[in-house]
Symmetry: C2
Subunit: 350 residues, 2 copies
DNA sequence: CTGAAAGCGCTTACAG
DNA sequence: CTGAAAGCGCTTACAG
């Protein structure tokens, strides 16, 4: 009573006086192959259209062992970084007849495992995953389960899997060199825990290598870590420490959440950007282009990450080919106002 | 070969020397009801745990006629308004054993219908939908199909359905009165087509009524419509017209996309906020709190919309009750810097 | 206390 | 050219 009884294959077959098997073949465009007469095929299609019949996908899934559904596991769909990737994946998926089930892991490895199991039990054909796991067990299990999957944004070193991500090292390296070129000598780095994530590790390396290459020492006290789940609580203390005690000239925030939280606190503490402190962001968001001042950033090709991840996944789903693809996409440096634009801005501060 | 053969109920039954039916009953916690001996139950659970067996949800769905999956149809998951709602729905869903399949309609009624059918054929138990349809046909069909659904953000007047949305009229009314209270007399309104959406209609009414209530005439040339799919292209012309020709003092943008696009153009045209022009936004985003200047806005209870929509949906899924719920949630006025703070700012302009 | 059988709605190998 | 049968992995009414 909840659901009006929907028309099924059998109904069509009965009304037409043919077998369900025949209808099924016609519907799957295998009528010719099975030499079903054109008239019969025509009759089938007409009735199907008239009754607005759509095959029950659940039954098909059970029978065929595939579901035309893929799972998407990310930390948080409300983070613009992931929602743009999700959008892009969905566009591709939709164009290829696939649907997306998404679940948020909240950066909790435990939850990530549970969610992944749930998705697999729901019969997904493949998985796109931004993993927050620190050890390799989960990913190894995934690989052993033989479900096709593609990691995005983060990967697990030492396990051969598909992955698609941005040039984290290069982006941080380039940004750091940019800051050095502006004359800044004390450049702080703000990162989040869990710091095992490859994204953060590579960005930190990029920063360190750029300093070293330019003859600057890496000072560990200028590299600050804030716990992912309470960024806001710790930001104030960290910023005060960096600006007032360490007297840094620029702060490089390693993801958009950090940058946004940083902007909030800097505003509250009445530090002016870039007069009092220069800032740069890894990961660009739309408003950075229009805010006052505009925010210098490294932007990642989010749409490409999503699109390519889906393509790689689809390829693996459709073939027995087990060659894994590792793809690193180029990032872009957006030079804007938040770092000042010359030595002059630096001298103005003194 | 693609997928390792997974353990099934039958495997468990065989290994234990019992029937699949028994295992099924135990797994569904109906062992006691069926008077399965505690020892047998214990044995079943032990083996299930040992083999890490999880029932095949596709088979369950087919048999039970439900899938513990709900569909989410929105215009665009990468719009922060929807992605926060999606997050909130997913949290609730997850806590209740449901998964979410999302699809984007791109504000295209045609696509919305197709997507909805796809979701229904995938066996979803219910649907949460931000409709972009202008006529009632689609929603009526949906209602007649007997699938439980809840509209969010927008509803269709004249059709009794569940819906959960924000106080659009009140928010626009309050914001307009706020702008009037600051001494502004020429207040422009920027809205998007398709303008049939109830959200936009109500916001426009709120603006108009606030003007009238305060003895101000509504001037239609101060109400501008921009097409949803090329906001950026039209924004510059509209803003120039309003500011330079109409000499408005304040612009009220009716959604966050408009506000963001507006900020971009204002910046490019070098209009200062609020010295040259005051702006207000319907729909708040995080950065509005920290930008320079901070942006005065109406914020909607996005998390509540998502949570309550799911609760309403779940209630309908679980009961034969067909009473529909119409829920309008309160909005909040955030007075910040983008409108100046007194008559003084107004005089400064002259 | 437990099992055999039917069936959810499809698809496919087999038979004619 | 077309149909009958089996089966995907579950659950449930029925039987003993």
């Amino acid at each position: 009573m909840r659901q009006k009884k929907k028309t099924s294959l059998k109904d069509i077959a009965k009304q037409l006086g043919v077998s369900p098997a025949l209808v099924s073949m016609v519907l799957n465009h295998r009528g010719d192959e099975k030499k079903v007469s054109p008239e019969t095929q025509k009759k089938v299609w007409n009735l199907v259209k008239k009754l607005n019949y759509k095959p029950n996908q659940v039954a098909r899934s059970l029978r065929l062992g595939n579901s035309k559904t893929i799972g998407l596991v990310i930390a948080d769909i409300s983070n613009i970084f992931y929602s743009i990737i999700a959008k892009s994946i969905e566009e591709q998926a939709s164009a290829n007849g696939y649907s997306i089930i998404f679940m948020s892991s909240e950066e909790d490895p435990q939850k990530e495992e549970t969610i992944t199991r749930t998705l697999i039990n729901r019969g997904i054909d493949g998985l796109i995953l931004s993993t927050s796991c620190k050890d390799r067990d989960h990913i190894r299990k995934l690989r052993d389960s033989n479900i096709p999957f593609v990691l995005i944004d983060r990967y697990i070193p030492g396990i051969k899997t598909n992955y698609v991500l941005a040039g984290n090292y290069q982006g941080a390296f380039d940004m750091t060199e940019h800051l050095l070129s502006l004359g800044y000598t004390k450049i702080a780095l703000l990162t989040v825990t869990p710091s095992h994530l490859t994204t953060m590790k590579h960005r930190i390396s990029g920063y360190q290598d750029a300093l070293r290459k330019n003859g600057r020492a890496v000072k560990n006290k200028l590299i600050k870590e804030i716990a992912y789940n309470n960024i806001k609580e710790n930001m104030e203390k960290v910023l005060k420490d960096l600006i007032l005690t360490e007297k840094v000239q620029a702060i490089f925030f390693l993801n958009n959440k950090l940058t946004i939280a940083g902007l909030e606190i800097l505003k509250r503490l009445k530090f002016r950007i870039p007069q009092d402190i220069s800032i740069a962001s890894f990961d660009d968001i739309e408003l950075f282009k229009y805010s006052y001042p505009t925010i210098t950033s490294v932007s990642q090709p989010k749409e490409d990450i999503g699109r390519i991840a889906f393509e790689v996944l689809l390829k693996e789903i459709n073939s027995q080919d087990t060659a894994k693809q590792q793809i690193t996409l180029p990032v872009k440096l957006n030079i804007r106002e938040s770092c000042g634009n010359s030595m002059k801005s630096l001298f103005n501060k003194i």
